[in-house]
Amino acid sequence: MQTRRIRWHIAVFLAPAVLVYTAVMIFPLFNTLRLALFTEVDQTRIYVGLQNFRTLFFDPIWSEQFWNALGNNFWFFLIHMLVQNPIGIALAALLSHPRLRFAALYRSAIFIPTIMSFVIVGFAWKLILSPLWGIAPSMLDAIGLKSLFAPWLGKEEHALTTLALVSVWQFVGIPMMLIYAALLSIPEEILEAGEIDGITGASAFWKIKLPLIIPSIGIISILTFVGNFNAFDLIYVSQGALAGPDFSTDILGTFMYRTFFGFQLQLGDPHMGSAIAGAMFAIILVGVCLYLFGIQTRMRRYQL
């Protein structure tokens, strides 16, 4: 461009999104981080610097809950990465097979759990896994594995894993759909070229398709990370704000909710709530930076 005229259309295109986003998202975000530096004494707000964070990380009562929630959150994420995303990719690979019949039917059916709310999913699985109702034990009995049954949601050592798997069951449709769309966008010529070289079937998947969909897998991973680190609903619905049994399913989202709004005998504390939000912000920021600068920039993009 030789002339330095102002291109107003760029501003017009950007303005609505930037305005709403800044006012409702970015401003409150930083305001929350600011609130984390205050505390309330006798109904007046006083500045205490990093005192809230010191309490959160080092005060025995708070830090035990915080590290517990953080550890649980990492386990929750790990299960999603190891179970949800590989299953999603595998299903997408099967579905994208060129002459598979009923593919649309399978795809629609498998996506159904994803569209249902946490309330439905949480309660439905709670009922199914309930020893009171007995669907799960009688089904295990039918395949001779009754001894494996335990009230999974009620046991401290199993509850978190069970909920993570329920969440995997619910959300497997998202990686499936994203990868499916990516696989369909691979041009036929590339696959035919591979075929001429004798690369078909499974090896075509590993050698041609998989490298081409790696950017989509990267996006799915980071979406999973962020989604898991602000998860709340499923745990709240099935285990309540106390994330029982004995806080074994407590993750950062439920911890923040409890702190912000209070529960039972504890009063809500927006400033400690903000401090937890600040910690979540930092964790997510670190994860995202690792992805953006460590992984994404090294990823090769193929012009299709």
Partner: protein, 279 residues
């Protein structure tokens, strides 16, 4: 066409795996719905049996109809979801076009700024959002939810749509410019139709979290007249937790509208995805 040899054994294995997973995905829904039509005794005695003349009962639905205002909840959810989605798609596509099409000072910075929101969930700002909604009097209105969901959806929409818009051929847009089209016409008439599959994808991925969200309705709009279906059914089930008939019926009634919406929009989604690929 692809002429790979089709091994019948392979095909059978593929169908086997897909049928197995489909059963896993649908089984809980199926169990909930069939049991919602049974009497309390039948629910416990034979949970996997279909309701028959003897065990059929609508007692749960009667309780739900008497005690909860599910039609109002549904209406609230629908308004919030549709308005938020429309705003996300329009504003998001406009911003994505600006970022992917024009070179200007601060383009990368603006892209990063907008992308921050994919990675930083809006929930982190909840404390201050509640403060703001209280200050502006928007608490317990549907607008509070619409604003929050629009802001929440925009970053991902901009990100996905600008990825797609980069793939739209430059020649096409430049041909439009040579023909004297304005930038607005190029956006609305040339680019938007080409990224429709991406818009469908964005709509689906935004629609699910908005419809299903429990956090913001719980915090910003918990009043009876602004409850969304998700919050309404959560509160209802919490109150009737020992009445299995009512709980199962409430769950079925929460599933039903979602399934209907899904049947309507999945056709469009699948058409979108495939037309994008065949193009």
């Amino acid at each position: 066409m692809n002429k790979a040899r089709q091994n019948p054994l392979n095909t059978a294995a593929m169908h086997g795996a897909l049928i197995l997973y489909t059963l896993i995905a649908l089984f809980p829904v199926f169990v909930i719905i069939i049991n919602s039509f049974k009497s309390r005794r039948a629910i416990f005695r034979e949970p996997l049996a279909l309701p028959d003349a003897e065990s059929f009962s609508l007692i749960g639905y009667q309780t739900v109809m008497k005690q909860g205002d599910f039609f109002l909840y549904f209406q609230n959810s629908l308004i919030v979801t549709v308005v938020s989605l429309a705003l996300v798609l329009l504003f998001g596509a406009m911003a994505a076009f600006a970022l992917s099409e024009y070179k200007f000072k601060g383009n990368t910075l603006m892209g990063l700024y907008l992308a921050l929101g994919i990675m930083i969930p809006i929930r982190i700002g909840t404390v201050a959002i509640l403060d703001m909604m209280v200050a502006t009097g928007l608490v317990n209105t549907l607008w509070a939810l619409i604003l929050v969901y629009t802001a929440q959806g925009l970053p991902l929409a901009v990100f996905i749509l600008s990825e797609f818009m980069r793939q739209v051929s430059d020649d096409l847009k430049n041909a439009g410019r040579v023909d004297g089209l304005t930038e607005y016409t190029i956006f609305f008439r040339l680019v938007l139709p080409l990224v429709r599959p991406a818009m469908a994808t964005v709509a689906v991925f935004n629609m699910i979290p908005i419809w299903n969200d429990l956090w913001f309705p719980l915090i910003l709009a918990p009043a009876e007249e602004t409850k969304t279906l998700t919050l309404g059914s959560q509160v209802f089930i919490g109150q009737f937790v020992t009445d299995w008939n009512a709980v199962l019926s409430a769950l079925s009634m929460a599933i039903l509208p979602v399934l209907v919406l899904y049947v309507i929009f999945s056709r469009q989604l699948i058409r979108g995805i495939t037309s994008g690929a065949v193009k």
